[in-house]
Symmetry: C2
Subunit: 424 residues, 2 copies
């Protein structure tokens, strides 16, 4: 019984029912949170060995270097080799950072703003207008970086195989369009995996701006929770082969492999870009935490072992996504009031309500003690033009709480849809 097939009277009756259900939810005094892609306690416990796998002075020597001391701005060779294998590139293409890949992304665009990138005619702070392409829905923290550096964000529609590549090819003809944000594998929030065809066309772009940058946030590079590891096309080699050797900055981290509060992040790019960035970064830090880089090498060892480790995360995450998707399929699908994706990896379910219902659903959830990602957050400036996208993050709460949360969410979603339908 799809809502759009019901009479006004039938809708009103349902509305009363759902109001009662909502009152029930409220009366429970719940405090639930499915707003952020935070690993749960069980996941953190998978990496306990990381805490004390270096014990002695001898343990701290790697490639003949004492990682406890100053030096090695770009990180320890052993950890570069680990990331090079995971990202299928050469270790000379790696710069190792600290705990957050966000910091490295911010730094990259901050350098573009204050000093310019390798091929910038001038620093972006000296330009009248810088535009940046933002596939939507997308990651609020990406948009936050663009906004803080006064970029005009241009939304690009996401399709099932990646962002609308024709729209991108058209947009980059404008020389003030300086870059694009991409989460190529298990995109945040839709879980879209970019197809090889889309990645190739991105690598082959002919932007008018000589310093156009693809911000390739490969946050979920080995983060399948359903099915085997499936690599995506390697964009650094592709872009080089298409004559764009310095167009791509790739980012990754161990935040969702080991510990979000104590991981290792990485920039991967052309040797020329790494050399250029090292020169600028040498003014900013002496090195990131090299002891922690070595802990990660000893713990993750290599690609094979890292993938085996990710299977343990998968075993914890899969039932959580099934709980969410199962509830939606049972409670919402028959009503025809929302659509959502079925991700095989990453951290999110992206749900589209009826137009104009996302904010209201968010507010209702909040009223019943359930914190969701703020409606609109998945769009530049927090403005979702159709007010329909909601991001669900099932990883953090204990499974019982997650089940409660999704139950509350379904009630709120129905109530918001009924309000909308009864208004029109």
């Amino acid at each position: 019984m799809r809502y759009d097939s019901l009479s006004k009277q039938e809708l009103e009756q349902l509305y009363k029912q759902e109001q009662n259900a909502y009152a029930d939810c409220k009366s429970k005094g719940l405090k639930l949170d499915i707003s952020r892609g935070k690993p749960g306690r069980e996941q953190l416990d998978l990496s306990l060995e990381l805490l004390n796998n270096l014990k002695s002075a001898e343990d701290c020597i790697a490639d003949g270097f004492d990682v406890r001391n100053y030096g090695l701005l770009d990180g320890i060779p052993a950890c570069k080799r680990l990331f090079a294998e995971i990202l299928n590139i050469d270790e000379s293409q790696i710069f190792l950072g600290g705990n957050a890949s966000l910091q490295l992304m911010y730094d990259t665009l901050a350098k573009a703003y204050t000093h310019g990138l390798l091929h910038s005619p001038k620093p972006w702070s000296q330009l009248d207008k810088v535009k940046f392409l933002c596939p939507v829905p997308g990651y609020d923290r990406h948009f936050g970086i663009s906004e803080t550096f006064n970029m005009e964000m241009i939304s690009i529609k996401m399709n099932d195989d990646g962002p609308d590549i024709e729209a991108i090819e058209e947009a980059v003809k404008d020389p003030s369009v300086k870059g694009i944000w991409c989460v190529p594998k298990f995109s945040n929030p839709q879980g879209v995996v970019y197809s090889e065809a889309v990645i190739k066309r991105l690598a082959a772009l002919r932007p008018a701006a000589p310093d156009f940058i693809i911000m390739w946030d490969n946050a979920y590079c080995i983060h399948e929770f359903d099915g085997p590891y499936t690599p995506i096309a390697e964009i650094l080699a592709l872009s080089a082969s298409f004559g764009n050797p310095d167009m791509v900055f790739e980012f990754a981290s161990t935040s969702k492999i080991t510990m979000p509060g104590a991981g290792v992040a990485v920039i991967a790019s052309s040797k020329a870009n790494i050399t250029y960035m090292k020169k600028l970064l040498s003014l900013q830090t002496i090195s990131y935490d090299k002891v922690n880089q070595l802990r990660h090498v000893r713990f993750l060892k290599d690609m094979k072992n890292s993938l085996a480790h990710m299977q343990k995360h998968a075993a914890i995450l899969k039932p959580r996504f099934e709980a969410v998707l199962g509830a939606l399929s049972k409670e919402i699908e028959p009503l025809g009031i929302a659509s959502w994706n079925h991700p095989k990896g990453g951290y999110f379910v992206s749900l589209d309500t009826l137009p104009g219902c996302a904010k209201r659903t968010y507010e209702l959830c909040l009223g019943a003690g359930l914190v969701m990602t703020t409606a609109g957050a998945t769009h530049p400036y927090g403005l979702d033009p159709e007010d329909k996208n909601i991001r669900i993050a099932p990883s953090y709460p204990p499974i019982k709480e997650l089940e409660q949360a999704i139950e509350v969410f379904c009630v709120c979603l129905k109530l918001a849809a009924l309000e909308k339908l009864l208004q029109s």
Copy 2:
């Protein structure tokens, strides 16, 4: 027999002697390095416990928070309390960073450049001219940050009690003078400790620029190696009492307390500044490494225990400084060709050659296999107007190598002085 009391003939004879001594040095094929303030191996071993003092999931809970996960942008409360005690301020004045205080100093001035500080009429990138005061000799990495953001650096003479405060009071009348670099305790490289009188006058400055900033790099806050811990005047409270509550950003780190490659750094400032910076930094990172913050809390515990720990460093460092100062006193003092400081803490001996001899001494050292800090590095733009200052860093090499190094250095210093005197 001071060189300036000798005849030309006597100088020529000495010159031949020292040439032979230099040839001897060269023939040994030495590879020595006293260029950077790097702790030695023995010092690193003092903090081995830090490596594995967190072992279990329970160990990672602090103030009810699991430090392994996302969150707490400004760091864990327990570590704020530790630094608050060490710096004699309130924990609400603390922002905890990652491995390098340099990163936090860079970030602070980068924010001034891209966004402006709390009281900036506009971002510094939009100003025609930004001038910055640099006590000289000083720390090359400070000057590097000023230079990369296009500041005009103005040298301020260092006296025995701190930088020339009258020159500073005069300079800050210029509204384009936006700040000053200070290493208030055991200044790099001279080991000068700012007097209470100088610190008070700094705190009471009346700069024309509303966003004038004192960059208070308290890198050696508890780093006495000779004599008991002696606190300096606390500038944050002083500046507030003089009506400049937001004028000072203080920086410190554990780089030379625990491990330079895996420490914790800190910003200390007014609550208003911390709030302002947190807003900007929230776009840049989710948090710095909180597990490492907790390791430091468990290891250093409190001020008392930290001071006891620093005494172990002192026991290692003091003989090294004595080796350097002893050799200089024996070999150089009678000749009247150089002067130097006698620090009680910090990491450096600062030596002044005869005018015009620093670069030549540096080159001669290099030729004999001894790497010193580049001559000129202690001045803005690497330009020492009198070409006389040389920084000696005795901490890193094994003591035998240090003794060799200072022997070579003395030969080179004499040779350079003799060359100079014979030319004139």
